[in-house]
Amino acid sequence: MIWQLDLILLLFVLICAIGALTVKDLLGAVIILGAYSFFMCILWTEMGAVDVAFTEAAVGAGIGTVLFIAAVSKTKRRSKD
């Protein structure tokens, strides 16, 4: 619980969130969302919530990214905004 480390991790999370929404390539956006989930996982480990952190690493970042990639590969990869 060092607040400087917490601030840096929160800024990374913010940058990943904005990046995932501004990238026009949907596959890239989904990968950035996976990076967002892993930063969130580091943040939770830093807060002491280890169970939540490994559930997020397995379920949120793993299965979520796989589901998104499957859906994007079945549909279109380009986005207009």
Binding site: L21, S37, M47, G48, A49, K74, D81
Partner: protein
């Protein structure tokens, strides 16, 4: 002033994350972008709930040395982080992935029918065909 900012800036950043997700759900036209916004919204709220259990100077809620057998020594509560928000948010993470899966299935159905994922194009097709 600096102490006030240090004690509150976490909540402000969670609110900013939540605003990003809410804007993406309302303002973006691509359905995948809307779903990404929904994910960001959900994890911002989960982050807020987990952070209500944080105690300064406490450790993870796993007891060591307090096994069964010698049960009557009192455990110091301030030494362990509040475990209840963690339990509830474990459930919330799994449920959020379930909703994302169903939403992606609906999205694939929409793509099969309209051959596009942009909201305005779908509305235009529906208007032209008079459905």
């Amino acid at each position: 002033m600096l102490e006030y900012i240090i004690s509150k800036y976490n909540f402000w950043i969670y609110v900013i994350l939540m605003m990003i997700g809410l804007y993406a759900m309302m303002g973006k036209r691509n359905f995948v972008k809307k779903l990404i916004g929904m994910n960001i919204f959900q994890s911002a709220i989960i982050l807020f709930f987990v952070s209500t259990g944080v105690k300064a100077g406490a450790t993870v809620p796993i007891l060591s040395g307090h096994g069964h057998g010698h049960g009557h020594e009192l455990i110091e509560v301030a030494k362990y982080i509040n475990p209840l928000p963690h339990v509830l948010m474990l459930t919330a993470i799994v449920v959020s992935i379930a909703t994302t899966g169903v939403a992606l299935a609906v999205l694939i159905l929409i793509y099969r029918r309209y051959n596009t994922l942009e909201e305005d194009e779908i509305l235009k097709i529906r208007k032209d065909t008079g459905v």
